[in-house]
Symmetry: C2
Subunit: 128 residues, 2 copies
DNA sequence: ATAAAACAGACTATATTAGTCGGTTATATC
DNA sequence: GATATAACCGACTAATATAGTCTGTTTTAT
């Protein structure tokens, strides 16, 4: 029940992009890495996943960098965590094998409130 | 963000004890292990942790076994998960180092709703 | 041309998880 | 009081996941 460093870094990077968000402005990874004190090589992998989930876009070449794919208001913590982390608390094999599992309702409820909590927060709120 | 097998096994073992709960009745681990299809040696370690958290008690020797430390109604999923799993989603080092962390409020909210969800379920409900 | 930046895949080191094994201690029953 | 049963305990191992590194290729503004 721990959030990985990957996800923590990813969320912080996204908040950085949201805080400095401005139309047509891009942010090279080096800047985010330094400013947020995240290992550059690792962040590169993370931002790539975020890009594949359509949360950020990139501009290549000199003066290139990354930027949010849409307004901070429209991106939720749930979007970001969902892109970087397994969000189902369990893969209950028992449920499949035996048709029912005494613990299933617990994990279902947990998954739902986890989702609700994260979906209720958007990036714009986190910039304040 | 995954619940460990240890916790899944632990919860199922506890539900087993709750389902068959009867005053002065004890359940040898072998029985729980077979019935719930949980590796015996592993379950032994798990139940020991549950005992140290005062969720179950033991009776040693022949005809011995484990039993719930109190009524199923009084034991929550939160008690069980809390005994077996790290329940804080992050140990945000940044928060300590920089005084503030842009992501902190997300993890706090997550932790709270995780706790709320699990605390709202008791063992007695899970026996139905 | 060249330099800055994104993109990509393979690799390594560390930590965590899941489980095993070999024993010791307590106690009901014969 | 011997014995068998079941809890208790600590050290060990195997597998997997996490966290990061390294070496390069591609794109593009200047």
């Amino acid at each position: 029940m721990q959030i990985s460093k990957k996800t923590q870094y990813g969320l912080r990077a996204m908040v950085y992009l949201a805080k400095n968000f401005k139309r047509n402005k891009v942010f090279p990874l080096r800047e985010i890495s330094k400013s947020e004190d995240i290992p550059f090589d690792f962040l590169e992998k993370i931002i790539l996943e975020l890009e594949k989930s359509d949360l950020v876009k990139a501009k290549k070449g000199p003066n290139g960098g990354y930027f949010l794919a849409c307004s901070p208001r429209k991106i939720t913590a749930g979007d970001i965590v969902g892109a970087l982390e397994k969000t189902k608390p369990v893969n209950c094999l028992i449920c499949g094998r035996m048709g029912k599992c005494s613990a299933k309702s617990v994990w279902n409820k947990l998954e739902q409130s986890l989702k609700d909590a994260l979906d209720s927060i958007n990036l714009s709120e986190l910039t304040k």
